[in-house]
């Protein structure tokens, strides 16, 4: 079991109904973790359209989970 904190932004936050949550998970990597919360919250965006960040830096979907880390799923951006 790994303890992680999840951050949700933009449409993901609206669909999750919260800006962040803590989770205990057996997901071995970030991709599996997204599948888990996607099923839970009904996220419309497929993993292919997201990026993922860990502790404030972009990461790779195949990276393993680190206990106590802060994970953000990044929907397609629209600044500018």
């Amino acid at each position: 079991m790994t303890d992680v904190r999840l951050l949700y932004f933009a449409s993901l936050r609206d669909q999750a109904g919260c800006a962040e949550e803590t989770r205990q998970t057996t997901a071995p990597d970030l991709r599996t973790l997204y599948a888990e919360v996607q099923a839970l919250h009904g996220f419309a965006l497929p993993v292919e359209r997201l990026r993922v960040a860990v502790d404030g830096a972009f990461a790779h979907w195949d990276d393993p989970l680190r206990d106590g880390s802060e994970i953000a799923f990044i929907p397609p951006v629209s600044g500018g």
């Binding site: 932004f9 609206d14 997201l50 990026r51 990461a59 951006v77 600044g79 500018g80």
Partner: protein, 157 residues
């Protein structure tokens, strides 16, 4: 998040309207012959739909890091003297300034190319999201399809 325009990092988020004159002044150098700036303003329409206003939200820590990275890349690629970028977050009305980019260089080619590079990369990579409010009361988060297939972890390189 107070915005000091006299100094501070080359990429910043601003949660309130900011003056561009002091930003421009920071880029003035006796060796710079060329200055290029870009401003993004809130338009009254998007894809043909009348827009009443919008809100920008950001993952601040990551946006500041990625924005700084974009400026560093521009410095490495182009013969710049200096470059700055400030992006608004929070509620904006039609005509409000959403983003400002300024670049000084010895010659105009580098100034234009770097300014274009910075705004293109900021729009493509920096975690800021636009929430539009339409005339009919509808609202939506904009999550545009990437021009060139999405690249997970792209910004980590």
């Amino acid at each position: 998040m107070t915005l000091s325009t006299a100094d501070g990092p080359a990429f910043r988020l601003a949660d309130a309207p900011f003056d561009i004159a002091p930003l421009r002044r920071r880029l003035l150098h006796d060796s710079a012959g060329a200055f290029s700036s870009f401003e993004g303003w809130v338009r009254d329409h998007n894809d043909g739909r009348p827009v009443h206003g919008l809100r920008y939200e950001s993952y601040v820590a990551l946006a500041e890091r990625e924005g700084a990275q974009v400026i560093d890349e521009a410095r490495a690629r182009f013969a710049l003297v200096d470059a700055l970028c400030v992006h608004r977050i929070g509620d904006l009305a039609i005509g409000d300034l959403a983003v400002w980019v300024g670049v000084s260089a010895a010659h105009r080619g580098a100034a234009f190319d770097a300014c274009r590079y910075i705004i293109d990369e900021v729009k493509a990579r920096v975690p800021i999201w636009k929430h539009e409010r339409y005339a009919d009361g509808d609202t939506t988060w904009l999550h545009p399809e990437a021009d060139t297939g999405p690249a997970p972890g792209r910004g980590a390189a």
